[in-house]
Amino acid sequence: MSNLIEPAKLTKKDFETDQDVRWCPGCGDYSILANVQRVMPELGIPRERIVWVSGIGCSSRFPYYMNTYGFHTIHGRAPAFAMGIKVANPELSVWIATGDGDGLSIGGNQLMHCLRRNLDVKILLFNNRIYGLTKGQYSPTSELGKVTKSTPFGSADQPIDPASFALGANATFVARSIDTEAAHLSDVLRRAARHSGAAFTEIYQNCNVFNDGAFDSFRERDVKAERQLRVEHGKPLVFGAQRDKGLRLDPKTLTLEVVRVGEGGVPESEVLVHDETNQTLAYMLARMPYPEYPVALGVLYAVERPTYDGVLRTQKAEALARSGAPDLARLLRGNAAWEI
């Protein structure tokens, strides 16, 4: 197989499969799929070196629609499969598609350890704040008091914020985007792809069947400028159609406050500047209560740290260098053999 010529430049079509896409019409998963299929060719990775791994859920059907290698595994464990794959063949570009149920309910432990290990994989968590595939039970990201089939009196547990969970778990890359924000999502995906290490991206995704409109209050065209804060490294944290609002730190209380910027308000210099290497800032941004604060989108946090697979690779190389070519006969003999 070595007489391969430089592969022709790929297009979106190259990443589409012949399988009928079986999400509900109108599901936010479609736009994410299209977006990913558009971004993938830009990465310059041959299709055969890309692997999509997923658990179970509507979102976890994702690999079937990507014309790459794909492994639709069991509920919640995609990160563990990905660990085996990446460690076995570090040349592969490994992507995980998961949901708020798959990744944060049953799969919370695998996700947490994948992030802290900093395994070099890209994780897209489709957060629709509901279990879609099992037809509409509340998820760990559903709001308190959520009425669903399994909670007719409202859910009794506090939700978790995926990004803050990821930060608490020591992730090296944490980002957020929205299914319908094509350009923004593409930017975030490109950044995630370039990150060396576990890149965690939460994507707010509308489940129009069981949780329709969950994100409308900050996703709809007419409100989004006022309700979304697009963060960019080195840029001030301002938002609003007129870019007239910003985040300021109250150093006394160590809290963020939304301030009017410019005319009638504070000068932009008082507004915090986004520093994606600052874990504390990322954490504050991730956890801003909504709707008192806007929803922070973009790359909240990104730093480089040794990857799990990278360290293992180095160890292997060093061991080989140190011990020389493996000698099975010697190994089997051990160092306390005797001859008869």
Binding site: R47, E48, G84, I85, A88, Q110
Partner: protein, 621 residues
Amino acid sequence: MTSPALVPSSPTEQTVIPSAVVRFAGDSGDGMQVTGDQFTVAAALAKNDLATFPDFPAEIRAPAGTTYGVSGFQIHFASDNVYTPGDAPDVLVAMNPAALKTNLRDLKRGGLLIVNSGAFNAANLKKAGYETNPLEDGSLENYSLLSIDITKNTQNAVKDTGLSNKEANRCKNFWTLGLMFWIYGRPLEPTLKWIEQKYGKRPELVQANTAALKAGHAYGETAEIFQRKRYEVPPAPVEPGVYRNINGNTATALGLVAASRIANRELVLGAYPITPASDVLHELSKYKHFGITTIQAEDEIAAVCAAIGASYAGNLGVTSTSGPGMALKTEAIGLAVAVELPLVVIDIQRGGPSTGLPTKTEQADLLQAVYGRNSEAPVCVVAAATPGDCFYMAIEAVRLAVKYMTPVILLTDGYLANGAEPWKVPNPSDLPKIELRFRTDPNGFHPFLRDETTLARPWAIPGTPGLEHRIGGLEKDYDSGHISYAPENHERMCRVRAAKVAGIARDIPEQTIEVGSERGKLLVLGWGSTYGAIREAVQRCRARGLDVSHAHVRYINPFPRNLGELLRRFDRVLVPELNLGQLVKLIRSEYLVPAESLPKVQGKPFKVEELEDAIRRLLES
């Protein structure tokens, strides 16, 4: 202090005996494992056949002197073949009251009992639960008691080395070993050399332990009492070759390394620590330069998933665990069945249910291995019979897994894991071959296209251009590999997965008789770690003229193709197992033969005697 001769000075006094079983028992801090190991090396060098078994306390480090802090080591060595570490010791060395208390009942009536009287003080007696001193209250009169103040003798021996009292006491085990060496006429040199290597950095320790060893030896030489107590166990008729002592976990690990070399493929072990399986992880993690990667996963689920992921990516994916961990892995093993990827799962069984007796042995995960998954999820199940056999069965597990694209469960247990035997080191070129075939041709490819003979699907690994495809746990169309919910297709797929595993029967050896004739009154059918005990029991019974044979299954799913026919050649079939009767269920249901169960669930292996009794009772009934 005069230095004793390094070789027995009066060999003529030695009684020749065919075999002996010796147990060393003492506090966890008394170094009994080291003593046992050195005694084992000496027996091996004397060309005895042998088997050993350590008995660690369940607690990490129990308070000194307590019964639950007692650590033991038993060795059976002989001038003939040895199959077990022995039922009951001929000689018991008890370094303190607690060791005596917990071990005495196993000592043969009339056996030699060596105790360190120096440790039989009031405090220790109380900790061991003795109300009176057994050395004085006549309760030991059924044994040949040698009560020696080993503590004091050791202190005297090392007093010139300037060690603290505490450190000096630590040399007691070498004094004892010296004495034992004298009794069995072993040379001191190998151990002296070992001491030198081990403590080389602390010369005072080398000096002290050397002195203690020699003093113990000299004690035997000079103390009147020993004149009639020396034994010789002549060499066994062992096949020539290079030997090493090996326990089951090491053998399993080395088998995996060997399989990886033979197949020329890197191996990934996903594991989560659990007694008694952890040592497989520990051992394998040393061999990075052999292309072995070990992942200590966050839990057993992640461990098996990582192994499956590694297999998917074209490495040899392996996971090792014990009972509770097996329970957690079953969902993922079902996925490996559905996606038909190679996977080796090693279950080093321990006492249960639940956490049970974590440090004890049992064979009670068999039915879980065969049936413990949702829906029809057939896997191949094999079992190792002896510590050394773990090596070969590990290779065999890998061979079957990759050839048939199937999970293979290898069952061993705590007894095999820690038990050791001399093992003839194989020449790598004599090992079985493992051929890997990766699909590369995109022509006509689909991921569930089957090989006509093996029914295995192709191993098509990421990185191969043109073979991009998707697999998953949903049912797949037989003809295209795409998701399919079609009724007849599902049945076809269930049947082909079953047929594939059943077909392995064509690829494994026929069942043989280990001992005895090919037909007759009684067949004792065993599996796993009971091998040695059954073999010895059957041999002894046959020596007494009983019509009994022994067969031992290494392949449990599928069974060897001739097993049913073989079973029917016997009037009766007895199945001894360290559980409440599991293999016997499979045998009865598969072959409808009225096999009878001989269960034992005590966290301990069968004694040869127990089996002999059972055979005799059965043949007399």
